[in-house]
Amino acid sequence: MRAVTIFKAVTKNWMRSRSGLFFSIMFPVLLLLVFGAIFSGTGGSSRSTLFVQNLDVSASDGKPSDFSKAFIDALNSTETFDIRDVPIEANASTHARNALGPLGGNIRILIISKGFHDDLLAGTLKVRIGIIYGTYQYFEPLMNETQKIAMQQGLAQLQQLNQSLPDTKTSLTVIVDPSDQSAAVIKNIIASIANAFNYELIGAENVIQFQEESVTATRFSNVDYYIPGLTAAFIMTNGIIALTSNTTEFKRRGIIKRLSITPLTKMDWIVGNVLSQTLLNLMLTAIMIAVGWLIFNVRVIPDALSIILIFLGSIMFSGIGMTLSGLIKDVEAASAIGNAIAFPMMFLSGTYFPLEFMPSYLQSISRVLPLTYFSEGLRFAMIYKYPEGVYINMAVVAVLAVVFLVIGSLLTRWKEK
């Protein structure tokens, strides 16, 4: 019962603290809104600016050649680019920099060379002639003599035409800023359009078709995938930063000493704080999902396994918080050390970026971080609905919860030296 009294008092004290509420609930929600706005595609998707200088124009009337116009139309049809024309006589880079203005932005320029149309036409004819040659060679053993003679006469005429065609040149130039993180994606899109253009001209078809399916039964949005990671990360910060700072502050101000003089036991105090953290974390999860549902139409729903995992995670991070506050006397140091542990863990545990994106040594580090198992477990429980994956991570979290709770209890002094 005393643990429940402590739970009520500590929770009430926290609920009335504006800064506590902000960092425990509002800040995670704000971060969710930012991530959601970036990755959900709501609010109108922004297009990437692409400066296009088309040098393949008619000398007489300045009209673009058929193929260069068709290529620009194809770029436009992707709805990826905000295409801005660069005059023929301008230096493309200077023009783009001036056009972007003082606030800058990434410079991406596509230059369509003079002769693009002719090169493309010649190149296409050469490829088609090559195909006829290849077809003849493939079927030659099956032909009779009359057929062979007729084919060879036709091929000789094609050979003459082929020799009369000019060699094709590089027709497209892409200029990007090396620091532009979207540059690779933009180059791939332009290359894909060029390939599609080539296929169309030579009359080839894609024989391999892609069909995309989700690994989950429910079709989740990008924001759904962020909710377990963000929730896990902030359950971690609530334990490691907020609980450590609060407990150190209670200790500094003699509040823990005052309570220790009463019949309250150390275990009552710890249980009361863990219960308070669990409630806080369940509230955080519920609010994150509610905000996600209201604004981004997310479909993620925590099940019983998720709630058990959140409970175990709350114990684990409360245990770490108590361990730290047992070791640290100074409130400022507690906050600084809590941040120094929590923030790297947040980024190295795959909560924001998939672990595969990291170098192998960072992946090795992430495997010893408690948050990795907690966020993985939550993702398996809330998104993939894969119980086996949840159980393995839950087992690791449960073991760490016991270990840290024991260490935290041992380091929480109920009697002074």
């Binding site: 009294t5 005052r258 309570l259 220790s260 003089i261 009463t262 019949p263 009697k415």
Partner: protein, 311 residues
């Protein structure tokens, strides 16, 4: 003879190389206000915290209500029976006065009606006020209320007025006087001489971990305070000479005042009669020794406002 509530014998507390409490012995009796008077670092709080069972002792014995502070089962009994106002009391900032007192009360199997305790400490107007918004004096009163809510038989008040302004200090004194009227045994620690003299039935002067003197204020003054002094303001040398001849122990200070030390009340009256007969017409003051004089005598220094030993 009153019942012994606290019994300390040859108590020692050692921190590495520092001997904080050096073999002290004393008793506290039921219903009295017992004051530990000494400078910072004298061993007051250490002794009290050993008795409150939150600090282990190094040597000797300490019993509260006959229970040994070192035995686990006895500690539970002691904690049920004591109320504590720790040094620099603090509580949960965002909780109200009532909620903070209830929090401490709920730690006990039984506790007094919180509203009654609030009324007792004149905190009715502040019931719904958050702790963070209270003045220093009000915070101390909340601390005393928290110490009383379990209806303890023995109340430890560790430096209850340190850092308070004179008005707030007087308010706390009134609270302590009321505790005595309620029949509570009060164990007070302080570095304020006047506080100990006004409030305590018995005082133990402690310095460097040892008790230098113990007894009622009157006993201490009588034993260590020295003589009463009759001061004749701006007296003449001729008058001083007469008083020296008749009573001895007469001096003049740099302000021209005559100081006559008197052995007892009878001699005091005789000096006064002489002055009346001689129609001196001078202002006369009688200086009575205080606990400060006692402290100066037994410790050899004074305590500053901040609690440091000087001189």
């Amino acid at each position: 003879m009153s019942k012994v509530v606290v019994e300390v014998d040859s108590l020692v507390k050692q921190y590495d190389k520092l001997l904080a409490v050096d073999g002290i012995s004393f008793e506290v009796y039921e219903g009295e206000v017992f004051a530990f008077l000494g400078p910072n670092g004298a061993g007051k709080t250490t002794t009290v915290e050993i008795l409150e069972c939150i600090k282990p002792l190094t040597g000797g014995t300490a019993r509260v209500f006959g229970y040994d502070v070192t035995r686990k089962n006895d500690v539970k009994e002691i904690k049920r029976r004591i109320g504590v106002l720790p040094q620099e009391f603090s509580a949960l900032d965002k909780l109200t006065v009532k909620e903070n007192i209830e929090l401490i009360g709920d730690m006990y199997e039984k506790h007094l009606d919180v509203t009654k305790v609030i009324n007792l400490l004149d905190l009715e107007d502040k019931t719904k006020e958050r702790f963070e918004n209270l003045s220093g004096g009000l915070k101390q009163r909340v601390g005393v209320a928290a110490a009383l809510v379990s209806d303890p038989q023995l109340v430890f008040l560790d430096e209850p007025t340190t850092g308070l302004d004179p008005k707030a200090r007087r308010e706390v004194w009134t609270v302590i006087e009321n505790l005595k009227k309620l029949g509570k045994t009060v164990f007070l620690t302080t570095h304020y001489m006047e506080e100990a003299q006004v409030l305590a039935d018995r005082i133990a002067i402690i310095n460097k971990g040892k008790i230098a003197a113990i007894g009622s204020p009157e006993e201490l003054i009588s034993e260590h305070g020295g003589l009463k002094v009759v001061i004749i303001r701006k007296g003449e040398e001729q008058l001083a000479s007469v008083l020296q001849k008749r009573y001895g122990q007469t001096t003049m200070n740099s302000h021209g005042d005559i100081l006559v030390k008197v052995d007892d009340v009878n001699e005091l009256w005789r000096v006064m009669a002489t002055l009346t007969d001689m129609k001196t017409g001078r202002d006369v003051d009688i200086q009575t020794p205080t606990i400060e004089d006692v402290f100066l005598k037994v410790v050899g220094g004074r305590i500053t406002e901040e609690g440091e030993l000087k001189g």
